[in-house]
């Protein structure tokens, strides 16, 4: 087995595409695991241990609809005020 072939057993197996092997080496070199900030890791662990089992996430699903409704209401109010004071 030639050098570098070991990590190819699950990847590119055809010997006709050697040009991609250099890319795999580069990926191996660049993609190294990083260490998250220990303060973050510990504080999240603490938060999770204190959080009730049901966690309510804020939904952003209706943000757009809310914005439209508020805009519409503001427009109607403005129109009503304009009609009222223009008479």
């Amino acid at each position: 087995m030639i050098a570098g072939e070991a990590n190819m057993t699950d990847g590119i197996e055809s010997s006709g595409i050697n040009h991609l092997w250099g890319l795999e080496d580069r990926l191996n070199h660049v993609l190294k695991p990083v260490t998250p900030d220990p303060v973050f890791v510990n504080s999240l662990k603490l938060k999770l241990s204190r959080t009730p089992s049901v966690f309510l996430e804020q939904s952003r699903k209706y943000d757009g609809l809310h914005a439209i409704l508020i805009g519409l209401a503001a427009g109607l109010l403005g129109y009503w005020l304009y009609r009222k004071f223009s008479k």
Binding site: K32, P33, V34, T35, L44, L48, S53
Partner: protein, 197 residues
């Protein structure tokens, strides 16, 4: 179906942690958290390129997992696969809600605090590394996921297939196409850099 309660003072191991956590055992969940937090953070960090947002999304992954652990059913799939799937979905939402952030260059993130050994803070960082990370983030979400699971986690095609809910053959094929796409992305970036100069 209601799950049977598990004795509280049982020793927590890889084999029983999920079962204990799903019955509300906080220590078991802490155990699962410690086993998985680094890998989930890494996965998210490399997908979005911002430490602060990676921390935020990592927290959301575990909050969501914690909130739904009671309904989690073991099907012979690693617990991490479930977390990766949650992370994958949250990243997709993050990109949808913050599409402008996709354009943030890696150079803008150099001075982030507490990065320690994060790639962009490494002294030996060079332009080639930046190009490669940028090219990876230009790939489709599935291709990014595959490459990160393979290189960060050193997972086999079979393990990745479980996480991505595909066959091993499909993963092998996707991997090959991902490398070709990555090479094309690198060529595009390279051409762009030449034109810029």
């Amino acid at each position: 179906m209601k799950k049977k309660p598990v004795p509280v003072n049982l020793e927590i191991t890889d084999n029983n942690a999920v079962k204990l956590a799903s019955t509300g055992n906080a220590e078991a969940f802490s155990y699962l958290y410690e086993q998985n937090v680094k890998r989930i953070f890494n996965y998210i960090y490399y997908r979005i390129g911002s430490e602060q947002d990676a921390e935020d999304l990592t927290a959301r992954v575990f909050h969501r997992a914690f909130g739904h652990i009671g309904s989690y059913e073991e099907k012979g799939v690693p617990f991490s696969a479930w977390l990766y799937r949650i992370a994958h979905n949250l990243i997709a939402n993050w990109h949808r809600d913050n599409f402008r952030r996709r354009e943030v260059s890696l150079e803008d993130q150099i001075d982030l605090p507490h990065l320690g050994d994060l790639p962009e803070r490494m002294v030996e960082r060079n332009q080639e590394q930046e190009m490669l990370l940028k090219a990876i983030r230009n790939l489709s979400p599935d291709r990014q996921q595959l490459i990160l699971l393979k290189y960060l986690e050193d997972l086999s095609n079979a393990e990745i297939a479980i996480i991505m809910r595909r066959t091993e053959g499909a993963i092998k094929s996707l991997y090959h196409r991902s490398l070709i796409s990555l090479r094309e992305e690198l060529e595009k970036i390279d051409k762009y850099n030449v034109l810029e100069k």
